[in-house]
Each structure stands twice: as structure tokens, then as C-alpha cells.
């Protein structure tokens, strides 16, 4: 039983991220409004980003910018001594920067598409659009 609670205590973040992801996924599948779907999509993507960022997190470590390295670039006479455990893993950050950019791009394209759809059908509700299509 205690193991279970310790498990929850050490992993609850992951649980919450997954819940967040599932909120987004749920919105994408169930919601009828296109814009809502887009929001769900973005929530889903950011939750995944959150998940990645938390992979890189280390307790007792600082942001991934090397201290005291301004100016001499660390190659001069006095070489910096860097402990990897002091800094947070930068790799997930890099990956997620890319992922954010991708999600913004997708977001923009999705909005553009929904604007285009609205121009054509005067509605953003999926069932109404389907009805109009059937009428044609």
C-alpha cells in the first residue's frame, strides 16, 4: 500500500499530464464545433510537450545555461568545470521548441481552414456542415 502511495507521489505529474492529454483528445473526438476541436488539438499537443519537458527535469538542478561562461567561452586558460547533474537536460527543451513551432503552424493552418469553411458554409458546426453537404 505504501508502495502505491509512493508511486503516486513520485509519478503524479505524469498522471496529470496524461489526463490533460486525454482532455484534448476527448475534445478532438467528441466536440462538434471545429474551433473547439482545434482548441482540443492544441491542448493535446501542449500536454505532450509538457510530458517531454518533465522528462528533462531534474531536482536540484538549474536552467540549462552555463554559469560564469559569459565572455571567455570557456576555452581560455581557466577551464570551467561543469557537472552534468547541476543542469537540466536541454535536449527535451530543444525538441519541444520544435514541437511548439509545429503546433503553432498547425494551429494557423487549422484556423485558416476553418475560416475558409465558414466562408463556404456560414457555420462551424460539423453536423450542420454535413447536412449542407447532403443537401447538395
Amino acid at each position: 500500500m505504501t508502495d502505491f502511495f509512493i508511486g503516486i507521489m513520485t509519478k503524479y505529474n505524469y498522471w496529470l499530464y496524461i489526463i490533460l492529454m486525454m482532455i484534448g483528445l476527448y475534445a478532438m473526438i467528441v466536440k462538434n464545433n471545429l474551433i473547439k476541436k482545434i482548441v482540443g488539438m492544441n491542448i493535446f499537443q501542449t500536454a505532450i510537450i509538457l510530458f517531454y519537458i518533465s522528462i528533462g527535469y531534474k531536482t536540484n538542478a538549474t536552467i540549462p545555461i552555463i554559469k560564469n561562461a559569459h565572455g571567455d567561452h570557456g576555452t581560455g586558460a581557466h577551464k570551467l568545470i561543469i557537472h552534468a547533474a547541476d543542469y537540466i537536460n536541454p535536449l527535451p527543451h530543444v525538441l519541444m521548441l520544435t514541437a511548439i513551432v509545429v503546433s503553432v503552424a498547425t494551429f494557423g493552418v487549422a484556423l485558416a481552414l476553418s475560416v475558409k469553411i465558414y466562408q463556404r458554409y456560414q457555420t462551424l458546426e460539423e453536423d450542420e456542415i454535413r447536412m449542407r453537404l447532403r443537401e447538395k
Binding site: T10, M21, S54, G56, H73, Y87, V115
Partner: protein, 274 residues
């Protein structure tokens, strides 16, 4: 649909949750993810690239190829918005306001725009009187925002920030102009053609630097080759390469953000925005 959605979500969530028991603890510093590659990046980055901001060094050097395509994604988003929304059919009605009297004239049916004059100004169909405070504040703020954006781009090697963030901020300064004044004003400052060219140019700078490296005998984007043409040693030249790349990213992102905004806000007609 609702229940199907719930079911799918529950199944996916359950599967995902079930695997978390295998994960290393949250924030555990000896997990494989935090020890394998990252140690090399953290410990060697300064030595190999001379850039203290590890994110920048990984982003623009170790994984610079990813970043190039990230920029391409953004470029692509701009193009896609243009392709989907840009509409060369002009609006049917134009409104002009006589500045001194406030009389509004309406031109209908395919009339041409009036030539620019000091007495009349074009205005949006659902025009809301300009708020003087907002206009003034924005006019004052915009240069500072732009300066800050440039700082973020240029100082990305040493502090949080870089081409992407800087580009977004720079772009948002134009968006702010478009919101606080109107779209026409912003489009006069930065024309559609310029935006199109800039977005391509930004990525081109990135790719160009890579190709120069290739011509100098190295692999694609291998900045150390730039030392052959620049009077800097092979490690510091990497920082320079990164700076160049970041500038490219900044330009592209700036242009694309404006393009996306303009196209969405005016439904592709480029006449009136929010």
C-alpha cells in the same frame, strides 16, 4: 459519439497510465534520459561550440538540421495560409472618411481605391473610432518591442531566447500596429510582397549557411568550416554560425507571423482586419 469518444480516451489513457510505473521517478537525476545524451551536451557544449545557452547550442548546432526544418515548417505555414485564404477579389464596398469633418463616404461596386490623400482616409466597414490612448501607447511601445526582439535574437547564445522567440516578438509588433490602427496602416509599413520575400529569405539564410559549409568541404551545416572564410577560430565560428542561423529564423518567423495574421484577420482580402 460521446460515449465512443469517452471509450477511446479511457482506453488510451489507461494504456498510457499503465506504463508510467516503469518510468524513472519524476525529476530523478539519474534516469537514462538525463544521463545519456544530455551529459555530453551539458559538459561538452562550451568546449565544442562556445555557447553557454545549452538550448541554443543543441538547437542551432547539434540538432541544427531539425531546426532548419522547423523553420521550414513555419515558412510552410505562412505559404499555406496564403494559399488557402488569399483572395484577390476585392470587397464590394469602401468607406472613406473626410478627416476634418468626419463625413463618411461609401463607394460601391468595383470602384477603384481613391489615391492616397491627406483629406480622406480609408476606414473599415465596422469602424470603431480610434482610441487615442491606445494609439499613442502603441506607437510609443512598438519601437521598444522591436528593439527587444532584436535583443532576444542577438542574445540568444547567452540567455533564454533566440531567433524564434525574437521573430515572434518582432512580428507581433506589426500585429499590434494592425490592431491598434488598422490593417491598411500596417500593410503600408510592410507590404505583402516584402513579407513573402522575407519569409523565403529567412529560411534561405539558414539553408545558405549550410550550403556554404558544404562548399567549404564539410558536411551540411558544419559551421566549423566557416573558419576558412572568417577570421575566427573553429570553435568561436560556430557561435557566429549559430547567430547567422538565428537571424535567418527570426526573419522568417517574423514575416510568417504577420502573413498568417493578415490572412486570417482579413479573410485573405488584405483590406480590413480586426
Amino acid at each position: 459519439m460521446k460515449y465512443i469518444g469517452l471509450l477511446i480516451v479511457a482506453v488510451c489513457g489507461g494504456i498510457l497510465l499503465s506504463a508510467t510505473s516503469d518510468f524513472p521517478d519524476w525529476g530523478y537525476s539519474q534516469s537514462p534520459a538525463s544521463t545519456y545524451l544530455s551529459n555530453h551536451y551539458i559538459e561538452k557544449s562550451i568546449e565544442e561550440t562556445g555557447v553557454p545557452n545549452l538550448v541554443t547550442s543543441v538547437l542551432a548546432d547539434y540538432r541544427s538540421f531539425d531546426t532548419m526544418f522547423e523553420t521550414a515548417v513555419i515558412f510552410c505555414a505562412g505559404l499555406v495560409c496564403f494559399l488557402l485564404l488569399r483572395n484577390y477579389n476585392r470587397q464590394k464596398k469602401f468607406f472613406y472618411r473626410h478627416i476634418s469633418t468626419g463625413v463618411v463616404l461609401c463607394f460601391k461596386d468595383n470602384c477603384k481605391n481613391l489615391p492616397a490623400s491627406k483629406k480622406f482616409e480609408q476606414m473599415d466597414a465596422d469602424w470603431i473610432p480610434h482610441d487615442l490612448i491606445i494609439m499613442t501607447v502603441c506607437r510609443i511601445l512598438i519601437p521598444f518591442i522591436q528593439i527587444y526582439a532584436l535583443y532576444v535574437v542577438a542574445h540568444g547564445d547567452f540567455s533564454p531566447g533566440g531567433g524564434f522567440q525574437g521573430g515572434v516578438i518582432f512580428g507581433s509588433s506589426f500585429i499590434l500596429l494592425a490592431i491598434s490602427y488598422n490593417l491598411q496602416t500596417a500593410m503600408k509599413k510592410i507590404k505583402e510582397k516584402i513579407l513573402g520575400l522575407l519569409s523565403a529569405l529567412g529560411v534561405l539564410i539558414y539553408v545558405g549557411i549550410g550550403i556554404i559549409c558544404m562548399f567549404l568541404g564539410g558536411n551540411f551545416l558544419d559551421y566549423s568550416q566557416l573558419a576558412k572564410i572568417l577570421p575566427v577560430d573553429p570553435i568561436h565560428v560556430r557561435a557566429l554560425g549559430m547567430l547567422g542561423v538565428e537571424i535567418g529564423v527570426g526573419i522568417a518567423v517574423m514575416a510568417v507571423m504577420v502573413v498568417i495574421y493578415v490572412n486570417i484577420a482579413s479573410e485573405g482580402r488584405h483590406d480590413e482586419g480586426l
